[in-house]
Structure formats: C-alpha cells, structure tokens
Point group: C2
Chain length 232, copies 2
DNA sequence: AAGGCAGTTTGCGCAAGCGCAAACAAAGGG
DNA sequence: CCCTTTGTTTGCGCTTGCGCAAACTGCCTT
C-alpha cells in the first residue's frame, strides 16, 4: 500500500517537489515503527538505508572504545538522519535510538543516487541538513572550548527547549523523557554536576524538574546563565 | 592564461574526471597567492567563492562574540575549503588564514551548480569532504567530552604530525609554524598548560620543541599518552 | 649592536567540577 | 501491595588544570 503524500507535505526535505515527485520519492520508501529504546541503526554497522523521522524523537549516540557515551544530537520530527550515503560513508558513525515510540520512513541506499539526480531539490536539502549539522557540531566544539560547565548545560537545555519544547501551565517542557545522565552526555559533564546545577536553578525559580522531565519556567533567566550574564 | 591540469592531477577532488573535464573545471577557476597571516576569507562575510589549497597550510578559525578563538581545523594541500555553497550557506562560518605563504585556486559560487551537475564526481567529492569533516568534528566533541587535557593535546599533536609531518633527523616535525597558543586553541586548553605538558614530554624524550616548532621524536610513546596507556 | 617584540617557561595559589559513597524517591512489575 | 529497578540528590575530599605574574629567550628590526 503506497504511502500518502500528506505524511510528508510541508517537510523541508520535500520542499520544492511537485505532488507527483513526492509520490515518486515515497514509492521507494517504507515506513516502520520503533518502540521507545529500540535501535534504528547501530554504530559501525554497514549503512544500508537512510531515514526520515515522521514522529517521535531519536537520540544519536557515539560510544568510545572505553564504553563511555556521548550524545551527538537529538533528531526531531521531519528530519533526515542516518544519511551516511550522502557523505560517501559505508558505515554509520553513531547509533540511533528511539527516545520515545517513533515512526520512521526508510529508503535503501541504492536509491540515493537515483533520487538525488532525478530530484535535485531532495539532494540539495539533504546536503543542507548535513551542512547545518556540521555547523552545529563546530559550535559545540567552540562552546566546549570556551565556556564552563554551567553555561554549557544551560545552553544545552535552552536548545532542547527551543527545538522540542512543549508549552505547559508552568513554562516550557522538553517533550521527551531525558535524564540528568543524558544532559551530562550532551555537555561533557557528569550526572552529579547536572543534578547539582539543576537543583540550584530550581531554588532560583528558573526551572522545575522531576524524573526524566525538565520544565523551564524562566527561559530569559536561563539564557542569561548560558551567556554568563546572570545578575549575581 | 589557462591553468595547467597538472596542477591538480592526482587530487581526490578531481578523481574520476577525464583530462578534458579537468580543463573544463579549471577554466572557471583562478589562482592566487596569499602571504603568511593573510586572510583568505573572513567569518560571517558573504560567501562568494569556494577554494582549493594548492600549496601551503590554512588555519580555519572561529571567533566567539567574547573575542576568544578556536581553531576549527588546518587545511592541507589538495583540500577544498570555504565550500559554504555546497552546504547551502550564504556566509562563511569561520575565517581562513594562511599559516604560511599559500597558493589557492578559487571559483565563484555561481559556477557551483553547473560544475556539480556536469561533473557529478566533483560534487560527490566535495560532499565526501564535508562528510569527513563532520565526522572529524564529532570525534572532537567526543574527545573533549571524555578525555583529559593531556590526552587531548597529545592526540592533536599526533594528528598534526600524521597529516602534515615532515621527516627530519630527529623525528617527525610539523611542517608549518605553530605556537603553544595555537595548540591550546585546538584542544580547549591554555598556552600555559600546553607549555607545561610539552616541557614534560621533552624531559621524557618524546618530543623536541622550540619556537613555533614541534618535532615528535617518539610517536609511539606520544600515542600511548593520547590513549592514556603510558607506563607510569 | 642594541632594542623590542613575540613566543615560551615556570612558580604559586586557587577554584571548578569530578569521583565516590550513601541515602532517597518514584515508577513499574509480579 | 510490596519489592526491585532506575533515576535523583547531596555531602565530602581531592585532583586537574586554570589564572596571574614574572622572568626568560630567540629573532627581527633599525
């Protein structure tokens, strides 16, 4: 049964394609569900497919030989991921894990060349995604080189809230489960330090947080923390 | 006067192109010299061209609003750089400075689309370059998150030596001038810490170093330091 | 040859943030 | 409903590596 084009209409990855083109691209895709905590693909495994997240949130994780983990990024709805093929890579450089139940479109790598040449807009969009990620990652290096832990953690929480925030009565909440450990692995810190800082912020009325849950009640104040301009 | 194809023969960016194709690509390029410490392009400036380094070494630097600097990477001979256009960016995200006297080919961005579609191999190679840089940068994030300063600095020096090493009687020397400050800006550290560690390594007979010069005399030992497996 | 500049070395003190350990709390399964 | 599991909080001590300051050393300019 063919996938309906309404699934992806309005997604940047399909911007500029006609309805027929969208159908053509979708005709080579298949859709699948990934329950929370299941792996979409695994680090170092041979890349056979590329993906588009239809709904949910995916965590991209790099593991070191020593067994430590670093969270490379979270994928949001509508984003391409696992596009190793577009970069000429034969293996996935990281693992992708569903942070919540997810619905994912996938294409076999074999169709990439064809899609890319028949629908230049689709290819260009993928390259733009990669370019944006390179920039993000470079900025993260700059941040890790120049800012201290509290500013980095505040910055990471701010970004999560901006990209995946959900309004509640109390403020803006990160709309997937996230642990102190996760935040530590995003910022090059430890769960202890994250916990301490978040407790401090809670005392100051900047955030409210619970088990696997973070709500920012005063985004402006958190921004000041991230920029190291908090009024002492 | 047209550029000779021998300038670029054997470069990965031109792999798989026929002699005539190479000439066609070169016909839209121009070559220029950049003396040491001159800027090829500047952060946030509108991207009008993309570049290929024919000879020399280029330092790519990101500056923070606070005026701190981070060295994003060094470009080696034969590499493309400043290819913002391939990522759909309109401004350069960093500055590029000649680390020594350099010779550079440049193309106006306007020819990118055309080159890319007429010579898919050229485009694919650019995308592969970007992919490789994304991976490098991700690895750097992992390194900064999980290793301590001594290991990071050892790793950075090892990489410099592997990519831009020149054999001498004493060992392998980084073949462009580099300061302690530069190494600090590559590793998220300070020139003081770099200096201290390099002095210690010199006492152990692992490196020899002087003003803007680093020679690794015992690469194996330095590798052990980078991996935190030095025999105490 | 003298002087100045840019890069380097080193000492000393301190603070950020980590590691370890222990207690606590919330969810979920049998 | 109890018990286990998983996540969180917090105290305490300590190490890493930074900040500041001062001295030193080539090298380049005049």
């Amino acid at each position: 049964m063919p996938l309906d084009r309404s699934l992806v209409s309005g997604l940047p990855a399909f911007a500029g394609l006609s309805g027929e083109d969208v159908d053509a691209v979708l005709s080579t895709a298949r859709s699948s569900r990934f329950p929370k905590d299941s792996e979409v693909f695994s680090q170092d495994e041979e890349a056979r497919q590329f993906f588009l997240l239809l709904s949910g949130h995916v965590r991209v994780v790099k593991a070191t030989p020593e067994g430590e983990q670093v969270i490379a990024r979270y994928i949001n709805e509508g984003e391409l991921f696992g596009i190793a093929v577009a970069m000429g890579r034969t293996a996935y450089p990281a693992s992708a894990v569903a942070a919540v139940d997810c619905v994912v479109l996938s294409w076999p790598n074999s169709v990439w060349q064809d899609l890319q040449s028949r629908f230049p807009g689709f290819g260009a969009n993928a390259y733009q995604t990669i370019g944006a990620r390179l920039q993000d990652t470079q900025s993260r290096v700059v941040e890790m080189s120049t800012r201290q832990v509290e500013q980095r953690i505040a910055g990471a929480v701010m970004r999560l809230v901006q990209q995946s925030g959900r309004k509640t009565e109390e403020g803006v909440e990160i709309d997937f489960p996230i642990t102190r450990q996760d935040i530590a692995e995003m910022t090059g810190s430890t769960l202890h330090t994250v916990s301490r800082l978040m407790s401090a912020w809670e005392d100051e009325g900047i955030v409210r947080s619970g088990r696997q849950k973070v709500t920012v009640t005063d985004p402006h104040a958190l921004m000041l923390v991230a920029e190291n301009r908090r009024k002492k």
